[in-house]
Symmetry: C2
Subunit: 204 residues, 2 copies
DNA sequence: CATAGTCTGGACTGACCGGTCCATTCCAGG
DNA sequence: CCTGGAATGGACCGGTCAGTCCAGACTATG
């Protein structure tokens, strides 16, 4: 990281990250070169190394963080307010829509596979993202419990972990096959089971 | 593909694929070079191009097919005989064990990201793998129905799709975080829900 | 307006790596 | 045992690309 950045510097740095993210989504991390990023962001090589002294890896890591932040942001405000079945449904719709739009581009997953194994930082970004994601889901389940819509015996930890896995699995299948069907099935089934289990308990 | 392969030729070709698969699992597809594969398999560059005339991509594709075949094989015989709850549990154990052993190496996923977007063949391999995988799960659910352990109204298609997504999600989380917890939670929850829904129906 | 530090341009380099080529050895069939 | 095709070894090539370097422009601050 550079020591001193002027306002102009900050905006250039941000422009590089956003442009790099865009070109990464289009071309894929395996193919992308610094030249591609330079062309897209209208910067020179010396600028790239000025703002990311450690080179390509540091830049890719910054892009990974940028993309990771977007993942949860794109699910708001629904993800942060899962206190009714209707809210869960809205969240489900938001997830479907977001990934339907994104299609088979996997900015974060691809980034992870590229930088991942080598750089510990990349793994940390993804781990933190998943942790916060699951925590939001767990919070939502607890909110349902608090509202009396789910029995207290529901295993929040296992439910939220399974829910997160369902989403991840649906997404990865979308990205490999191009079909959103599995994501939809996984989400609908998981929510139906969550609700079904509740009704079963409530009635019994 | 070469025209004529002697017995020796076949064994060398197989040796290359297996060695390449091993070194790919260790180093990751983004880093691996032909030199690495040559060193591991004790072959020369001319051999690589003799057996895979189209070069690195063709070799990686062959490795992808090799790995894809292993995925389902490793779940047998359980995956092919899901006709009782005990059988499903044995399958679940086999999956957990297989991926626990594999850890955070993702031979197939990584391969897909490398060759995937560019080569249509790679996507076809993964699509076919997922299709057969889900079909086996659907078959298992139908077997439970036939045995009277699940009501006929169970949506086989959605259940099997969600089940596949659960496994995939658990695996991808294992590979990014190194923790097998989510895979376990996803499988256990999915099976519990499948069974729970059944009991609910049977009792009601 | 002086100047020091930031910002930008772009030529250059050096290493790496996929792929080619030719020479040599091996081996199966006649 | 001859011979043609398969199998192998390894030198060499050419392109690519991350990273370096220096020169010059811009700008904030005193």
């Amino acid at each position: 990281m550079s020591r001193q950045l002027t306002a102009k510097g900050h905006s250039t740095r941000a422009r590089i990250i956003e442009g790099a993210a865009a070109v990464l989504r289009e071309l894929g991390v395996a193919v992308v070169t610094l030249e591609d990023i330079m062309a897209r962001t209208r910067t020179s090589k010396s600028q790239l190394f000025h703002y990311f002294p450690a080179g390509k890896d540091e830049l890719l890591l910054a892009v990974a963080q940028f993309e990771a932040d977007r993942v949860l942001d794109d699910q708001q405000p629904h993800l942060g307010r899962l206190d009714s079945w209707a809210a869960w449904q809205r969240w489900r719709d938001a997830v479907i829509e977001r990934y339907e739009k994104q299609g088979d581009q996997c900015p974060l997953g691809a980034l992870f596979f590229q930088v991942g194994r080598s750089t510990p930082g990349a793994r940390a970004i993804v781990v933190e993202l998943l942790r916060r994601w699951q925590e939001s889901l767990a919070e939502g389940i607890r909110a349902l419990q608090a509202a009396g819509r789910l029995p207290a015996e529901v295993n929040v930890e296992q439910r939220s972990a399974a829910l997160l896995a369902a989403v991840q699995g649906g997404v990865i299948i979308l990205q490999t096959t191009g079909e959103i069907h599995h994501l939809r099935a996984a989400l609908d089934q998981a929510l139906a089971d969550l609700r079904g289990g509740a009704e079963q308990r409530v009635r019994g």
